[in-house]
Symmetry: C2
Subunit: 85 residues, 2 copies
């Protein structure tokens, strides 16, 4: 078994409105940061996964993302794996 | 003025408990994903910033993160910039 450090990025699909991002953008304008636009807010998850090999770790993370971390209807995800021992 | 695409990662400081991460880890165990541990949940923000140069963009993003996107008492942040035109 190898342990992998995973970094998972969950983002809203481009076609889905992001009210939180719009609120942040509006707040930033009021604070004087007018040069900022296109704010989109997602989730960033770090975890360790133990698996036989990198393929098995990827398969498990796909399941975890589809079932729990992301809502496939409105969100995309991607992840990076790094062996740590 | 150059426009930069920024990817911002906001994470809880290692010394701060993450109840949401613990809940996800517990849920995953109940779903049969026992090989996963150390779940930490953060924020991932994408935005575009227009600035005179990369140094000015970094300075503005530091202000934005300190004032709005991150709580410096319990969270760390880091960001990547890429010129897009």
């Amino acid at each position: 078994m190898t342990t992998y450090q995973a970094k998972i990025y969950v983002t809203l699909r481009p076609s889905v409105l992001d009210p939180a991002g719009t609120a942040v953008e509006s707040g930033l304008k009021h604070m004087g940061h007018g040069g900022i636009e296109g704010v989109r807010i997602g989730k960033y998850v770090e975890l360790k996964v133990s698996a036989a090999d990198e393929g098995a770790a990827q398969k498990q993370l796909d399941e975890v993302c589809d079932q729990l971390l992301a809502n496939p209807v409105i969100e995309n995800y991607r992840f990076e794996l790094q062996a740590v021992g």
